[in-house]
Symmetry: C2
Subunit: 246 residues, 2 copies
């Protein structure tokens, strides 16, 4: 039994909200009615007002809707699966699960390569790189915020291409990279920074999945190093070893 804890720095109503999301909603289908506030209060051992605060938060984030006199209902919000493998690409990976994918360029600049970037791209420490900050969305919902780095001597114009196409794959194609594959992906989880809260439209305390990835061209030369933050409540990462690299 998952007992709630006090004096932990996390308000009870927020713990209740997390519990409802995890244990109550997990066994429910879209548009199903939740137990009444009074029953939830009883089940979690808290006051009804605390449950109401939790429900208000879940309603604000779009998970639930409360209707006076009728009850509180689960909205339809499935978690997208984002595939990660040798041929990881944002747009094609979500193809089956969403109607529209957009990539928006927030900013770009050319800077001396930070140490971890130079290492990942196998560039000398003095090299310059192009840094892109982007936000990607599926069906209008922001899915990920990413920062990507490219060798400036080879991909100086990538920002302009990305601004036009909204796609890394398309931008690289214009610059002569007909194909590339994912070399490594490291995955961490953290609390979202306030900047990412804003970019991804999350509520405070939300979790992001952070991936750090290296892509290589067909010659095995690293061409992109990227750090992406995914809204953990909207997406899961899927590693499928069944489909071998084409």
């Amino acid at each position: 039994m998952t007992t709630l804890q006090r004096r932990t720095g996390i308000a009870l109503w927020r713990q209740v909200a997390d519990q409802i999301r995890q244990s109550v909603l997990s066994g429910m289908t879209a548009n199903e009615r939740l137990p009444a506030e009074a029953e939830l209060a009883n089940r979690f051992g808290v006051n009804r007002h605390t449950v109401r605060a939790a429900i208000a938060a879940l309603e604000k984030e779009g998970t639930l809707r409360a209707e006076q006199g009728r009850g509180t209902f689960l909205n339809d919000r499935r978690r997208l699966q984002y595939p990660i493998g040798p041929r990881t690409r944002f747009s094609s990976g979500l193809k089956d699960q969403s109607q529209t994918r957009t990539g928006k360029l927030l900013s770009s600049r050319t800077i001396p390569a930070p140490p971890r970037v130079a290492e990942a791209l196998e560039l000398p420490k003095t090299a310059e790189v192009v840094e892109l900050s982007t936000v990607s969305a599926a069906d209008g919902d922001p899915i990920s915020a990413a920062t990507s780095w490219f060798d400036a001597s080879r991909f100086a114009a990538i920002a302009e291409h990305y601004a036009e196409t909204g796609s890394i794959t398309a931008s690289l194609a214009r610059l002569g990279v007909d194909d590339y594959t994912r070399q490594t992906t490291a995955i961490e989880a953290r609390h979202a920074s306030s900047e990412d809260l804003d970019l991804l439209g999350l509520s405070p305390g939300a979790i992001v999945l952070l991936t750090r990835s290296v892509d290589v061209d067909s010659a095995g030369q690293p061409i992109q190093y990227g750090e992406s933050r995914f809204a953990a409540d909207r997406i899961e990462l899927l590693i499928d070893n069944r489909a071998p690299a084409a």
Copy 2:
């Protein structure tokens, strides 16, 4: 700039603790001194007592140590890399990064297969499965808590073998599975449940990486479905496509 937020259900001292972990400690080396409490309070725009509460929490989780008159210092705690690929195994994956690995059996039982388990293992809905609850540790630090399911008709005795060996791979080998590979791994991130807080020795509000994985034998038959929770502040998941399956 990462501004702290109020009325979010997350206490300020906890937000400060997260900020210190992320932005202050990230650029520091082991045993380095942190800025003084007064300076941190000034930097984050909160009272010194709030910073002290944050430091107390980080000290309790082992990240820092405070010494009266001298300052507060960063403890040595690197994040382990847990590789995920076609040949994912707990013990061998952490071999280079730790001295000892242990696997402890918490409980086991034979139950009718829950729907998602039956689906993953390609069993009929009426099938029975063995459910193992385990905790794995590296060098004494708990790394992951896992729940695993096996076809009861094929692996009835796996609990006993695991209790003896502390290893899934070794237990399966005793039951005639000489080799197996990882078929799929889905990754999510969540707040740790109070049970996992306990099992993994985490402080409230901590994040876990949740993996749901299917392993298949050499004939392609699913043999294990598992749900593992990793302490996100101690580990990162690494997908490396460079090493092809042997």
